[in-house]
Symmetry: C2
Subunit: 153 residues, 2 copies
Amino acid sequence: MRHDGRLSRMLHVLLHMEEQQRPMTSEEIAGMLGTNPALVRRTLAGLREGGYVVSERGHGGGWMLGRPLAEMTLRDVYDAVGSPEIFALGLADDQPQCLVEQAVNTALRQTLDEARALLLRRFAEIRVSDLRDDFASRAAALGLNVGLSCADA
Amino acid sequence: MRHDGRLSRMLHVLLHMEEQQRPMTSEEIAGMLGTNPALVRRTLAGLREGGYVVSERGHGGGWMLGRPLAEMTLRDVYDAVGSPEIFALGLADDQPQCLVEQAVNTALRQTLDEARALLLRRFAEIRVSDLRDDFASRAAALGLNVGLSCADA
DNA sequence: TATCACGAAACAACAGAAGTTACATGAGCC
DNA sequence: GGCTCATGTAACTTCTGTTGTTTCGTGATA
Ligand code: FES
Ligand code: FES
């Protein structure tokens, strides 16, 4: 089953966006992610609706942060990209007649819900700015000056 | 993304298997699950390797429990069906050069690992027999005598 | 008005479980 | 021995949702 990389990618984009003092075009971002502009626009559209980023058209246009990274959590971003399905594991039948299967569903559902709750709770605790700080620590530890490390940059 | 129902289905099968005093054929089981015999054999093959079920060929053959339900946990069954991927969420790139993306991956991976650990811990705590007991309680609460509730039975 | 860049729709590609078909193999039964 | 039942296994198709791609429309700047 193919994985859903939208949350991962958008976090990456947001962090890079903060480093820039200018709007980033969909094409730049696409090159960064190894994909194409249309997909970038499609996914960033969700973040725009939430006010996390702002887009501008025409000359000098592109994407910019709509608010500080300290004011958005991973949970916010997760929801902004459409709250995608978390689990690949699923139930064979959601509303079975069979009592046996109902017992199976109850147990699995309960466990999955618990894991989901933990995950979303953690997401809500982590600000995107925390990732930037972690990034800064990494760079410092390696004695690097902060800059783009992208292969195509 | 399509869900992985192997764990769910095999639990269902194991519970029904215990009710029977005779081997169940792949065809019977397939009818129960709403699928076909080849898929049943394919999936049950994993459980056989773990000794959770036993298969017999020829006349009067079929599938039977290889050990009591009290001696297998959901974790055992999960592993027996091949330890399928738990999450639909994933990272865009597993080993990125970009320090920013590494920071993103670290945070996401840590959170996913935590949720996965919780899930597997719970699975290891639940015996398949616990599901049977839950099933029995349901049946009793409804004043039903235990029997097949399958539409095609 | 020419160009830039987003907006959005439409469609093909891809991955992995599920579904299906087909045939070989072995076990019982007559 | 030969027939039938049922598993064992491989090969192939179908299904579903993200991803990838193309195309055209719209607004903004120079
Ligand atoms: S991908 Fe993050 S720097 Fe290019
Ligand atoms: S499906 Fe469980 S009784 Fe038929």
